[in-house]
Symmetry: C2
Subunit: 301 residues, 2 copies
């Protein structure tokens, strides 16, 4: 069996991008899609995010070889239950959620005995909704599969091949390890960005207008991340709570040490850290995980 | 008197960009430059960052109407002393440093009775050194002047005109207020970025290779800022200590409140903040302070 019909549940940034990427890279594969919001379904049809936009989740999955859930991680279980009765027996069910232990558990409970292989393409932008997706979102990005211990190796291989066809590089790991890694490379950065943007908004002695005018000093970078979808991120923090709290504890310890160095005028400690952190940037650019141009190649240069 | 000869002390990202911007926007203005590092002087001459690269700071300022100090804020006093004896009587001395109370004090002490008007163009990239500068760095960015209370209004007006000619928008404010505003829009964002990149590097249960591979989930944005010049930033934190510690206290209070919300499963508190922070991004883009394209217009889209 190979994947010839893909159903996409949830047609926002990720779902729309999966649909457009399939159309571009796998033109022989048919796509169906569903979104709980009728306005999103209408817009998805206008943009052609999938071949057929269906009015019910059951219709969308009825003939699918692969179902990709692209809804906030807190909504995965309910979404899976909504089409469980119509799901073809051999179909692979996967997702794109940012926390994997909770999603794996929710899908296993909603679809007992079915072939569930959670996945997480590490890609996105600050935009959301049916107008945000684009076909190249997964190019050169990593997609992490977290198959359960008893997963069918042939199904895992098929899902890998699918993501590679969309331009992604595939890695497989344990769901618990995924949740720890992503807590530090994604969840804590988002939490910190949301926090500092909130802190800046609430100041009394610095006006909001000043924060906006002088944002090019560094702050504006954080506002991009802090413009990400609120529902998606609320769910990520609540479903990956333990790993987030663990990594947050380490971050605040390190921040407190720097605060102490500043208070004690310990320039050497600051200089040492600031020198050490340059290497990681270099490696990220060398490995194609970020734009090599200064300032991300922003338009004003 | 109008500004016809500009001396630039320090020929890194900022100094080089001032020189190139003068050449582009004020072709009738002569520029001289000096850098303490002979390799930087050689490279500055090769790139033509200024009209004449001088071998001593005295030579560079000898006929200047305006001297712009572009060295780390901790080195401003020593740099000013190095050319004090050769400084023409009516010359304006200014700078581009990120903390203004300490720079104002250091320059006033080094150049008693002279016309000192500290300034801070809120612009930069993560690059540093004589290869990093470019003529459009100041386009549409704000330049903040913090003239002392007894500054000559005509000199302040000349300096404003100079920065406007380079493409900047000019604002004047009290140095103490500047230091508070920039603590939140620039210094704390840098401190946080350096910290999280350091935290991620030091983990035992997540490898450095994993941090790099999955950095597109948000972390990579922080690595750009954390690749900024270590000497410059060490000096900023040591010279703007009070404002940085004050703003850091507010940030950690807010972060602790979010940590508590996650621990208590309070999705509403998270959702409220995450919704509120979107507006600031919109305003920053509307006011031309950031690239309107998703993901800063990174190359892979």
């Amino acid at each position: 069996m190979s994947i010839e019909r893909v159903a996409i549940i949830g047609l926002g940034l990720l779902g729309g991008s999966v649909g457009l990427a399939v159309a571009e890279h796998l033109p022989g594969v048919a796509t169906t899609g569903y979104d709980a919001d009728p306005d999103v379904r209408r817009r998805a049809a206008e943009r052609g995010l999938v071949g057929t936009v269906c009015d019910t989740p059951e219709d969308a999955v009825a003939e699918a070889d692969l179902v990709v859930l692209c809804v906030p991680v807190g909504a995965m279980g309910a979404a899976a239950r909504s089409f469980a009765a119509a799901l073809p027996e051999p179909a692979i069910v996967s997702d794109v959620g940012s926390s994997k232990q909770s999603v794996g558990q929710a899908l296993a409970e909603a679809l007992p005995g079915r072939c569930v292989i959670p996945a997480h393409p590490v890609a996105g932008t600050e935009r959301s909704g049916p107008d945000a997706g684009f076909a190249s979102l997964f190019h050169r990005r990593w997609c992490i599969l977290t198959p359960p211990a008893d997963a069918d190796p042939a199904a895992v291989a098929q899902l890998s091949t699918f993501w590679e066809a969309l331009g992604a590089k595939v890695e497989t790991m344990d769901a618990a390890h995924h949740d720890l890694v992503l807590a530090v490379t994604s969840h804590i950065p988002h939490l910190i960005a949301y926090t500092i943007v909130g802190t800046a908004s609430d100041l009394e002695d610095v006006t909001r207008s000043e924060v906006i005018k002088y944002s090019a000093g560094g702050f504006r970078d954080f506002t991009r991340i802090a413009a990400s979808d609120p529902t998606m991120w609320r769910d990520v923090f609540l479903t990956n709570r333990d790993a987030v709290l663990e990594m947050l504890g380490r971050f605040t310890e390190d921040l407190t040490a720097l605060q102490r160095a500043i208070r004690r005028d310990d320039g050497e400690a600051l200089f040492d850290l600031f020198t050490r952190t340059r290497d990681i940037r270099r490696s990220i650019v060398e490995q194609g995980q970020d734009d090599a141009r200064p300032d991300f190649g922003r338009a004003d240069h």
